[in-house]
């Protein structure tokens, strides 16, 4: 009986996580910007990248520029330039902080962003300086609705 009452609650919480779902959702939260960047924050570190919607709208990436560990970023500042189909597009920091790690796999394999934008194709990990900034960002459900509305 206990398992039957827990299962729907867990399922509801899991739906709020970044896919694929796991109990990691209890410890991390995903936020999204209106420029289609995400920040998955856990223990004060935000793993950031672009969403699946964003990579679809860009096309196949041929180049991704990344900052360096130690760089300080403000929320909304340009953090990367992505190139696809002869278009160079800027990506912006979803939250302010210090870059602690960049995904160097993207230097030789920018297509990883297209194949796995919200998992292996992350761009930077940022040590968040002000978690209050996330109040201005969307969570998954609101973002999905926002992205769907932009299609029309």
């Amino acid at each position: 009986m206990f398992a039957r009452s827990v299962a729907p609650v867990a399922a509801g919480m899991a739906r709020q996580c970044m896919r694929p779902c796991s109990f990691r959702g209890f410890a991390s939260t995903s936020f999204f910007t209106d420029q289609h960047e995400y920040a998955v924050i856990k223990d004060g570190i935000a793993t950031c990248g672009i969403t699946n919607h964003a990579q679809e709208q860009l096309g196949d990436l041929v180049y991704v520029s990344l900052p360096e560990a130690g760089d300080e970023l403000g929320q909304g500042e340009s953090v990367s330039v992505l190139e696809s189909v002869k278009a160079a597009t800027e990506m912006y920091a979803p939250v302010s902080g210090t870059v602690v790690e960049v995904n160097s796999a993207l230097e030789s394999d920018p297509g990883l962003v297209n194949r796995s934008p919200e998992e292996e194709g992350w761009f930077v990990k940022i040590k968040v300086s002000d978690e209050a900034e996330t109040q201005g960002l969307m969570q998954r459900e609101a973002y999905d609705a926002f992205a769907a509305a932009e299609e029309h």
């Binding site: 420029q35 679809e56 709208q57 860009l58 096309g59 180049y63 520029s65 340009s78 330039v81 190139e83 696809s84 189909v85 002869k86 278009a87 160079a88 597009t89 800027e90 912006y92 932009e150």
Partner: protein
């Protein structure tokens, strides 16, 4: 949806003057998006022709200073830009179009936008009886010869840079580079394909009309007429005030 497209013909300008004009329009769009102004940004086509210049895109490290020197010695300028794409040439006889658009008025997708530009140029070529097409390499092609190069930048879905359609340029300038980094393919122009002289002036109307159709524009306005109309209105207001 009411979509207005402004067209401004800058004429023969330096590359820097073209950049300044784009930056001003881009700033107006970005300020509107950031809520810094209630003045709406204008979706604008800037048309121009440049003095001989080679430009690189964001991946500029492919072209070190020795390369820059070599090309400058030919008598051309050299600029490193923030657009996509690799090296290209602009010069007299080539129609350069910079659409500075807020894609929020259209569709927020760079891939879609570039595709729309390609389709517009293909339409324009069709009016000359030239069958052009796209290929896995961005740009517009006639066979394996590129007739129009494309390179774009997007910032919060506000576009800058654009495309360059060869009308009757001196094609020898292209021999000194691998255009757009694509080896083994040629370049061509409207004049070369038709065997007669097609000037930039002949291409402007077909290109603007094609863009207007492809982007489903409700109204095309001439930027310079708008400016002179505004000045006339200001002048009349001033003179009526002073006469009282």
């Amino acid at each position: 949806m009411q979509r207005v497209l402004y067209v401004r013909n800058l004429g023969r300008v330096t590359y820097t003057e073209g950049l300044r004009a784009q930056e001003k329009l881009q700033r107006q769009h970005l300020d509107e998006l950031a809520g810094k102004t209630s003045e709406p940004g204008r979706d604008t086509l800037l048309l121009c022709e440049h003095h001989p210049v080679y430009t690189t895109g964001y991946r500029t490290s492919n072209y070190p200073s020795q390369e820059e020197e070599r090309l400058r010695k030919l008598g051309a300028e050299f600029y490193r830009t923030n657009r996509g794409g690799l090296i290209t040439y602009h010069g007299p006889g080539q129609l350069v179009v910079y659409p500075v658009l807020n894609l929020g008025h259209f569709r927020k997708s760079m891939k879609w936008y570039v595709c729309q530009l390609e389709k517009s140029v293909i339409r324009a070529c069709q009016t000359f009886g030239i069958h052009a097409q796209t290929s896995p390499d961005t740009g517009v092609w006639v066979g394996d010869r590129k007739i129009c190069a494309i390179g774009i930048h997007g910032s919060r879905f506000v576009t800058t840079h654009g495309f360059a359609l060869n009308c009757n340029p001196d094609m020898t300038w292209f021999r000194h580079i691998v255009p757009c980094g694509i080896m083994g393919k040629g370049v061509t122009s409207l004049s070369m394909e038709l065997g007669r002289n097609i000037k930039i002036q002949d291409a402007i109307s077909p290109v603007v009309s094609s863009l207007a159709e492809q982007f489903e524009i409700s109204e095309v306005r001439n930027w310079d007429e708008e400016v002179s109309t505004e000045r006339t209105v200001e002048g009349q207001e001033k003179s009526s005030t002073s006469s009282q």
